[in-house]
Amino acid sequence: MSQTWAYISNYCIYSAMAVYTLSFFAHAYETAWAVRSPQSEEASSANLLTKTLDYTRTEKVARIATAMMILGFLLLFAGVIARGLSAHRVPWGNMYEFSITGALAFTGAYLGALRKYDLRWLGLLVSIAVLLTLGTAVAVLYRPSAPLVPALKSTWLVIHVSAAIISGGVFLLANVIAAAYLYLDSMESKGPRSAWAQRLPSLEVLDQLSYRLVAFVFPLWTFAVIAGAIWAESAWGRYWGWDPKETWAFITWVAYAAYLHARVTIGWRGRRAAWLCLFAGSTFLFNYIYVNIYGTGKHTYSGL
């Protein structure tokens, strides 16, 4: 019975990867084909822009790209649920499971933000990031579905880990946007934007957007850290022990607090704020990748 669910989960995740790949190609097609080479009469005109953008010809593809992203999200969601059913628990027991749930949260954050902001240009980056995450999960991190070790058997697993994974997804989205900011900023400092990048939002919008995302999840991350401390108190007899995982969660928290401070009280904007945002996000990734795999602390649940 539980084996069946494990198989279903695997198939869902493979299908999700296939669909994300389609979404990736659709996004790539859109980005590339919206650029129209100049017609002869246009080229002779005074218009200095030698290339123009014409979205009407890619609108259909763009819709397909987003639709594929949504389908991928649903399949991945089903995969995560089936994984949980196969083991009769929440699917957050090892690094494979953290990764697939993290990819789910990341796509979810993107799709959620897409409802409010015109973020379709990000789809290319989002689909690459999700494919890389899922690829690594399936190829390197995969472990058969199994019950939890006793220390993980707690309601706090659900609370703490879901808060952490959602925060992570949103932090990473903010990071992708900060990176896009820096890239476009350096492009603009050399002259006008390339044609394909003209559709991307202005620098101010990107700057605001990554700030909003961080400000939005910072309380959730704070909650994740505190929930972890409460759990540690009931499982290990201390709420804070400077275990490597805890230490890096703290570093991430401090880095984002510094980022918010720098923006709200000192008025950092633009490049410096984007670098700080990237730095803070990289502490999160470091915690996830390095500390999970090479760390020696009590948080050795990677299953590797």
């Binding site: 058997k153 505190i226 108190e233 499982a235 007899g237 400077w242 401090v254 401070h261 720098a262 500390v291």
Partner: protein, 491 residues
């Protein structure tokens, strides 16, 4: 921010004032905050004494020079080091120095009315003007009131403000950080932490001598140990038959809270400690104690009972030492215990499952001087065999006996042991409270927008409406547009 640094008046007071201003400035706090983050990095990469003492010892053996040098900078005790403490103490002084005055200021400001409408409204972020129809002020007043603005109304103008919660939440957040630190400090001064290995069937009495290891906070006294007694009745560990991973540990105990109190049956699990006030008892680890009887040549019992062995791997292959100091000459057994024995071509005897399905005790027998009375503390799991000679090598199943030259050993059976961790932390409630307030404060401060709206009817009959959002918070535009429409009589 001016960059000119005022030269302070000479004199201690001036210097103090100057340093205080510098310390409690935003910039200093930000730098200290980042420094705290950076300072906690080495501790996550270098093994720490209180988490991983074995690894630290290894460091000292492998590269003693570097290790001694690193030790001088407390790199093996980062989180208790003077430099780490210095950073966070400075940070929190800085925090107190800036948050307390701001709180007082805010408390006064919260009861004051919004400032009067400024002269030049057209410079504001959102501005509109049109010919008055006479009813704008009243309409605006009732709308602002129903939207919970704080309002200062004069004959011809309204000044309204909303979003004080932002600053309130922010202050509560910063104050809660102080509360968390107070909780942490209180816990480490008045707390204690100890561990004891208890065989199933035995009692744990909460006095210092029962502990295998015990550390007190600076202001903790032995009298503060609650006088409870725990009897370990039964312990069951369940393992996954495929992965050998543990699935469940359950410990049944009988507790007596204080002398004369009734005995109560309780269950301890990994995430469910036993609680006595601010003292918790945790199930921390488990293993096996082989029960042995050692007899001398004449058949008199020299030693009898369970001896805790130390697990070495996930399948609970354990090592231990059975020391018989009363035998003449002294006898020692360097032993290992396999809960489910098997043979491996390379490693010899191994255990293939953590449950005691096919237990076996392997040992070598040593005769001579156990070196127990040297005053040097010895591990209970090891024997210093430098002054001993080996007189036998054997393995036993439960119930079997081995005779060596000078006596015999019988492997009677096994009993599990559990490691109880006893922790008292009277500060944790404050830290938890601080954590909750921190989150609520953050939510209040990050999700409220502070903004002001002004309406004025000028002498020439024109209405001016303006708005200003603090911290460039979004959403004011929508709000102002709504107000414009309302005032213009549209629905």
């Amino acid at each position: 921010m001016t960059n000119e640094i005022e030269i302070p008046e000479l004199g201690a007071l001036g210097l103090f004032r100057y340093s205080w201003r510098q310390l409690t400035s935003m910039r200093t706090a930000l730098i200290l905050l980042l420094m705290l983050g950076v300072a906690s990095i080495p501790g996550s990469l270098i093994p720490q004494r209180d988490q991983n003492p074995m690894k630290v010892t290894q460091y000292f053996t492998n590269s003693p020079g570097a290790a001694r040098w690193m030790d001088r900078f407390s790199l093996f005790d980062v989180y208790g080091s003077p430099w780490f403490s210095a950073i966070y103490i400075l940070l929190f002084i800085s925090l107190i120095g800036c948050v307390l005055p701001r709180s007082i200021e805010h408390f006064h400001a919260a009861r004051a009315l919004p400032p009067v409408t400024p002269k030049n409204l057209q410079r504001m972020e959102f501005y509109n003007t049109w010919d008055s129809n006479g009813s704008e002020l009243d309409r605006a007043h009732s709308w602002l009131k129903s939207s919970h603005f704080r309002i200062l109304k004069t004959d011809n103008s309204i000044s309204a403000e909303k979003g004080f919660t932002r600053e309130t939440g922010n202050l509560f957040f910063h104050l809660s950080l102080i509360l968390i630190l107070v909780g942490v400090g209180f816990g480490s001064l008045f707390g204690m932490r100890g561990e004891a290995i208890v065989n199933v069937g035995e009692r744990f009495i909460n006095v210092p001598t029962t502990y295998d290891s015990l550390t007190f906070g600076k202001l903790f006294s032995e009298k503060d140990l609650p006088p409870f007694v725990i009897t370990v009745d039964k312990f069951v560990a369940k393992y996954n038959p495929v992965t050998n991973m543990p699935e469940d540990y359950t410990l049944w105990v009988t507790e007596v809270e204080k002398p004369g109190a009734p005995a109560v049956k309780k269950i301890i699990k990994v995430n469910h400690p036993l609680t006595f006030g601010s003292t918790n008892v945790y199930l921390q680890a488990n293993g096996y104690s082989p029960i042995v009887t050692v007899r001398d040549k004449a058949g008199n019992v020299a030693l009898q009972g369970p001896i805790p062995f130390l697990p070495q791997d996930g399948n609970l292959r354990s090592i231990g030492a059975i020391k018989v100091p009363d035998a003449k000459p002294q006898i020692g057994f360097v032993a290992s215990f396999l809960p489910t024995q098997a043979r491996d071509a390379l490693r010899g005897g191994i255990s293939v499952f953590p449950e005691a399905l096919d237990p076996k005790l392997l040992f070598s027998v040593w005769r001579g001087d156990l070196a127990l009375d040297k005053g040097i503390p010895q591990s209970v799991y090891r024997i210093d065999t430098s002054k001993m000679e080996r007189i036998g090598l054997h393995s036993l199943k439960p119930g079997e006996t081995f005779f060596y030259d000078g006596g015999s050993i019988t492997f009677e059976g096994i009993v599990p042991w559990v490691n109880l961790q006893v922790v008292r932390d009277p500060g944790k409630t404050y830290a938890l409270l601080g954590g909750i307030v921190a989150i609520l404060g953050l939510l209040a401060s990050l999700f409220t927008r502070r903004r002001r709206i002004w309406i004025r009817i000028n002498d020439d009959g024109r209405v001016e409406v303006a708005g200003l959002a603090k911290n460039a918070a979004p959403g004011l535009e929508e709000e102002i547009k709504k107000l414009f429409r309302l005032l213009n009589g549209e629905k």
